[in-house]
């Protein structure tokens, strides 16, 4: 997962460094191809890791929170990138659009880099303790294995 996100960072950074009008679209697409391939690597493992961190009875809640983050991320990021675009260019001429576009993949790469760094902090849940404790614990505190032991 972290590997995929680091490669996503690399692909987007490549797109940011070469994002000019003189660049052939094939090169831009190759960088986007790498980014797309790495998105699929992270996009699969991340929900698995997130949903495995909670007890089965809280899967619905966890899934809801994860989906909220999944929608909130694009909203905030597009707002930030649009502000970055408006600070560097405008929609008047193609050159100005490209001027505004240049830092945007850099912002994407920054987002992806932060995501990769945070993905490094993901620790696997203590699943060897979880089933036994899950049955023995009271319903008020069902999963102390991941809640307390990793703090």
């Amino acid at each position: 997962m972290a590997t995929g996100l680091f490669m996503l960072t690399a692909g987007l950074a490549w797109a940011a460094s070469r994002g000019s009008l003189s660049t052939n679209w094939v090169e831009l697409d190759i960088s986007l191809l790498i980014a797309g391939a790495d998105v699929s690597m992270a996009l699969l493992t991340l929900p698995t890791a997130v949903l495995n961190a909670v007890a089965p009875r809280e899967l619905g809640k966890a899934s809801g929170i994860k989906y909220m983050m999944q929608r909130l991320g694009p909203a905030v990021a597009i707002a930030a990138a649009s502000a970055l675009f408006a600070a560097n260019g405008h929609l008047g001429t193609p050159a100005s659009v490209t001027d505004g576009f240049k830092p945007a993949p850099a912002a994407c790469a920054g987002f992806a880099l932060l995501a990769a760094i945070s993905a490094l902090a993901i620790t696997p849940p203590r699943t060897q303790h979880a089933p036994a404790r899950d049955e023995g614990e009271s319903p008020a505190r069902p999963e102390p294995a991941t809640a307390d032991a990793v703090d």
Binding site: L28, M69, A104, A119, I122, A147
Partner: protein, 260 residues
């Protein structure tokens, strides 16, 4: 409508229509074998016989006049029961609550008492707000249904419905810290932050590259979409491979999707 007539009419309708009369018999058998007990203690056949005999025989069974919930009363209910076998009617239709024990101190009245306020519910423990408490002579036995919840004496019932229960299984005694307990899990919190950042990067890339292609380079919409395909269609091909690789080399605990 009398339930006996209702089931006969429903059976005729289904026999002429899309279902056979055998289905109706199956429904009857399912209801009987599902163990649904009438409030009077009888099975379905006894109930129907009592209803056919007239109101004088079934008056003791009825909690309040003719307001007994229509057991198999209408045709569509029979049809739905065919699609969902072994569904207890008591789950679909909360029965009326009759209190014999705790409300024994109530004065015997002819008209049923409607308890709708929290203060009145606190005076009669065991009955929640909106519960209709009938006088003892009109109830043959105490019913318990899904609408009957034990009232926590330390909380107002209204407060309890506001504080707890946005997730199933929560009682009103939980505080807010228990509810956000899963956020304290480091994997969950960091995974959510990663999801936030990653989806932000993905969507911003797709959004702004489209703008660049359309406005900066002047491509037509179709050609811009085709040039964006390597970014958007690659997961379609890479995802199965990546999933298999993740299953093979990933940490084993991440694969325990159902046994965690």
């Amino acid at each position: 409508m009398k339930p006996g007539r209702g089931i006969q009419r429903a059976g005729r309708r289904h026999g002429r229509g899309f279902a056979s009369s055998r289905d109706t018999h199956d429904t009857t058998r399912r209801y009987t074998t599902a163990g649904y007990a009438h409030p009077c203690g009888g099975e379905l056949a006894q109930v129907l016989r009592a209803e056919r005999l007239g109101p004088s025989h079934s008056a003791a069974c009825r909690p309040a006049g003719n307001e007994y919930p229509p057991l198999l009363g209408n045709g569509p209910a029979v049809g739905r029961a065919n699609e969902q076998p072994l569904l207890k009617p008591s789950l679909r239709r909360p029965p009326k609550l009759c209190e014999n024990g705790p409300t024994g101190s109530l004065p015997a009245q002819k008209a049923p008492i409607h308890v709708r306020t929290a203060a009145a519910a606190r005076q009669h423990p065991g009955a929640g707000p909106g519960v209709r408490i009938l006088p003892p002579e009109r109830c043959s036995r105490v019913l318990s249904g899904p609408a009957r919840q034990p009232v926590d004496q330390h909380h107002q019932p209204r407060t309890a419905s506001l504080r707890g229960g946005w997730a199933a299984g929560q009682s009103c005694n939980r505080n807010f810290g228990d509810r956000v307990r899963i956020v304290r899990s480091r994997t969950f919190a960091v995974g959510n932050a990663t999801t936030f950042l990653m989806t932000g990067a993905i969507f911003v890339a797709g959004f702004l590259v489209t703008q660049e292609f359309r406005l900066g380079r002047g491509y037509s919409p179709v050609s811009a979409g085709v040039r964006l395909l390597p970014f958007l269609a690659t997961p379609m091909f890479i995802s199965p491979i990546a999933g298999a690789v993740s299953d093979r080399i990933g940490r084993p605990s991440w694969r325990l999707a159902s046994s965690c």
